[in-house]
Symmetry: D2
Subunit: 350 residues, 4 copies
Amino acid sequence: MNRVETGVAGRAQPLAGEPLARACVVGASGFAGALAAAILWSHPRVSLEAVTARTEAGRRLDDLYPRHRVPLVLETFEPQRLAAAADVALVSYPHGAAAEVVAELRGLDMRVVDLSADFRLADPALHERWYGPRGAPQLAREAVFGLTELHRQEVAGAGLVANPGCYSTAAILALAPLAREGLIADAVVDAKSGVSGAGRAATDRTHFVSVDENVSAYAVEGHRHAPEVDQELAALGFAGRVTFVPHLLPLDQGLLASCYVTPTRELGGAEVAALFADFYAGEPFIEPAAEPPGVRDVRDTNLCRIHATTAPDGRVLVFAAIDNLWKGAAGQAVQNLNVMLDADEAEGLR
Amino acid sequence: MNRVETGVAGRAQPLAGEPLARACVVGASGFAGALAAAILWSHPRVSLEAVTARTEAGRRLDDLYPRHRVPLVLETFEPQRLAAAADVALVSYPHGAAAEVVAELRGLDMRVVDLSADFRLADPALHERWYGPRGAPQLAREAVFGLTELHRQEVAGAGLVANPGCYSTAAILALAPLAREGLIADAVVDAKSGVSGAGRAATDRTHFVSVDENVSAYAVEGHRHAPEVDQELAALGFAGRVTFVPHLLPLDQGLLASCYVTPTRELGGAEVAALFADFYAGEPFIEPAAEPPGVRDVRDTNLCRIHATTAPDGRVLVFAAIDNLWKGAAGQAVQNLNVMLDADEAEGLR
Amino acid sequence: MNRVETGVAGRAQPLAGEPLARACVVGASGFAGALAAAILWSHPRVSLEAVTARTEAGRRLDDLYPRHRVPLVLETFEPQRLAAAADVALVSYPHGAAAEVVAELRGLDMRVVDLSADFRLADPALHERWYGPRGAPQLAREAVFGLTELHRQEVAGAGLVANPGCYSTAAILALAPLAREGLIADAVVDAKSGVSGAGRAATDRTHFVSVDENVSAYAVEGHRHAPEVDQELAALGFAGRVTFVPHLLPLDQGLLASCYVTPTRELGGAEVAALFADFYAGEPFIEPAAEPPGVRDVRDTNLCRIHATTAPDGRVLVFAAIDNLWKGAAGQAVQNLNVMLDADEAEGLR
Amino acid sequence: MNRVETGVAGRAQPLAGEPLARACVVGASGFAGALAAAILWSHPRVSLEAVTARTEAGRRLDDLYPRHRVPLVLETFEPQRLAAAADVALVSYPHGAAAEVVAELRGLDMRVVDLSADFRLADPALHERWYGPRGAPQLAREAVFGLTELHRQEVAGAGLVANPGCYSTAAILALAPLAREGLIADAVVDAKSGVSGAGRAATDRTHFVSVDENVSAYAVEGHRHAPEVDQELAALGFAGRVTFVPHLLPLDQGLLASCYVTPTRELGGAEVAALFADFYAGEPFIEPAAEPPGVRDVRDTNLCRIHATTAPDGRVLVFAAIDNLWKGAAGQAVQNLNVMLDADEAEGLR
């Protein structure tokens, strides 16, 4: 049988010429970090040089996630070593734990995409309210919010990209076209996520018997992704109310944001559809859907499929479906990395 | 082994004395009809005398649904025979097909609970818009909308009860307390249903591979249960807009209505909770939930668990969870039957 | 709304006369213990007087398991108090932890059904090999192996019943008729279980993302339920090899044992079917199935559905489906209790 | 947004130089055919020129399967047109319907991989017994059974490859190393498949509510894939009994073959493992697994993960996990195509 040997020699695809960058994934034992490693492992323009983990160091990544087939051994976090081996880092640590390692890597001049929430919220007070005191606060100013479709130019030149949350990604993509045009009077986002969004930790909430044949809302008093949505919509000119409620569903990967917008003026369905088509013209990962999209249609892709229309009662309805681990985390992180490296934005993500 | 013999002799529970009524289920091969038969089969005060089916006549019901253990043979529909054997009928035919058999049974003086939509909408024009011309229109006037908690008294004396739709049951129960107090300015209902709600027919939409690892909205241009909600809320004094969008989930039984209400005045969370507690005081099947309820918590029960609160942004949130086949169909049908027979409302439903 | 008050006053069904026994459930916070409490709560001939838990004491059982609707508060384990309140106890503690509390309760003259493995294996050496030293070894002799269909008479008079494992229940029921007739030369049991069989503890193995869209074998070097199967088949006269391999499936409740028997002589399919029909004649919970049974057909029932036949190649095939929490645990415990109390064996289990 | 235009211009990956072949997929609307098209659409050495379908002609393939992102329009089957546009064809028609179109394409000198069963069984009598009279019987002689690992050389030169069934692929890969060494005295294969293996047709059996929370055996009187297993094991020298029973599981993609082998002589676990490692040395898609493999670990890959060991009772256990749509159908079809084209066998399948 063919157990690929450890190390870069065994990579899935030959690189297409000299790599644009050497990369590492810090925190590759969780769902998002492991996927980021897998995507980079077969990326034609980036070489994956190292993967680290806090608790699983010493294990091979393909023992933890056989289907990803990344035959690297998880290392402990040694910033000097990483800086010697790689130019860029994708950091996938829990909120609160990421800031410190990001600071160390930035101090060694590595460019970083941070998948945690540690640098997503620009307003320090807002960050503190939702997450407590921010680590490495000096970095907050340089961080760019990595919703690629909205911040492509800043991402291109960034040293530190704060990759958005999964819920925020879907909600912002669903509401941005309306927000920019001043068309939102009021909005409700009923979001539905698969269980991988809750992470790899085994808890009562992620127990199979809790989730199976079940659906329920949670965090109705306020979810941490909501201020990301508010921040981005405010930047587009909308400062009103967005009620956001997440739900947990019996599936592993997939996230649907069902958005109910009271428009500031009457909007026909065709006008809404045209507005979205125009806003996202040329975007490689935003796909219009003739019907309300299912998350199965974007599974294991970096796509966001959007159906925007007007209900007979005048409410504007927008449904945005993503894979929470791809466009909602690791996929978008690589998309941002591609932009940072001036590569084709879809490299490694097709 | 112990294959129970066909016929009433084999019933699960001995009756507690003389039955209050002899019952039949017309259309017992579908999910809701079969469950209605199963509930009646072990009902302590009602004897189930016959079950019929349009396409499976001649088969034993416990061959079709082994776990229900109802050892009766499905018969063809012969109204005279049924009228001789039974006093009351639960009719579980598809929309459009029910009206005629209901008319025949009513003509033979049987009391009927109709699980179809044929007599739910009082307004003939509204019915025609959503379902086409109504069969047996002369019966529409006598039909009582069987949302038990709202129409208990009319149900008690009714000859014909129109059992509500599954979505409408959850949505109306979630909004009624606010509607009666004039507290709704605007509302969104994002509803989520398991696949049994789509019925027993094998279609692309009910194929396992379509539903598994998926979630999507459907009928965004308008769902047939929405006018039931409007009708009932109007009767309580609310005539405004309720945007209703259903979603299909990868689970078999269970329905969650997530309701987002813009209130007419500021409402605290405690006030909302108290309002609901008061409205549903003493109701045997309405249960307050300290947290947003999951559908797993009501599986195979006639319960509706409701969590009502106010979000920090002032939106009133109401989450109502039912089992779509129980409180959303067969369970509520038996609940109505109990009321019609002046029995304990929870008989056979514990 | 109608939150049932704590205590026996709120029980689901009125008792049918004077109870045959007052019962308690020790360890009611796990899946099996909670179900045992729920079954007893609506048992017409037994009154449930107390429930205890090691880690959730002080919580209401209907907060933990809303759909079971048992409004009792979980107490700490105080044997004297239990002995004053109840005559019989169902103990649902983890293996190893049960023996001690069983001994205390037996010392207070309570009759006990123990759902753990602590007294299932009669041979002390065998017990020690699989579980380590046995607690309260003096009780092993009086313990009766509670596979009801095989040991009804001993159960009737027992002070201590060792309720069988879920896998063993299905496998023994599938093989016993052949074993007794000396018809097994060799056997393979490929068993498939839902996740509730792995218990309520949140582990990597019970994480939704581990189980969903997955199936795999485990414990291939030997599973603890295998010696129970060997012990019971030996008692029926078969001392040969039964290879037993369990698999974990993406469902919550249900267990299928697929058994492949090399017979000692040629056996026609009709002969096999007749043998099983004869062996289980009159059994209230053993049901012949004309086709290989699905676990869905026994969900939330105490049934074991069995299809036994001969393959064209001469192999005898037996498929036995149970609900692992019912016939595989709590249901059979109540079945045994009914036998101990000389009640109708199916009381409370229909 | 970026709706890729119809046609070859929009392909996912640029070809790596001149393609080795131009391909078409005949019958691309089913699960396996659509996946074959998706794999070829991003294959670096093969250009996909056309896709056809019997019932969905005129629709875009990415409307039917959005996540595959193949922007081609399904055409009706016109062999001359296909022969002009392409050199090779993958045919994914139902059994019985494939033979005729394969004959037409072969008559036009196209090389064909046929995913149906029409040419898998070399023995005409055996084919007739399981499938009825064979269409285009003259082609049976030239057909090569496309279990790549066993028939690589014949596949390389073949004009017509009969791609194996999903069950047979897993079972043969699991048993071949033992069969070749004369180590099998007797074998049981308990196979477990996801629902996509049953095809895209909506039936009672593929209804979500039939499959969800269920597992059952089927075709216990004999399954059509069994003679494929027998044929291939016979070619390796084993002519004894293999009892094969398939089971349907609540998951979409994935197939596990659990094999229980009575060996002809005592075999230690290490010896078994070494035998498999040796047999499959250098195979790019066969991966040894240290633990019994889960189907989740091979999802959306062409891998077969195998764990082979000896139970304490002497039985040899082999567990082989594949994705039924990949290694069990479309993936292996492309693997065979790669061999036929003398390309790297893993091209397009990483």
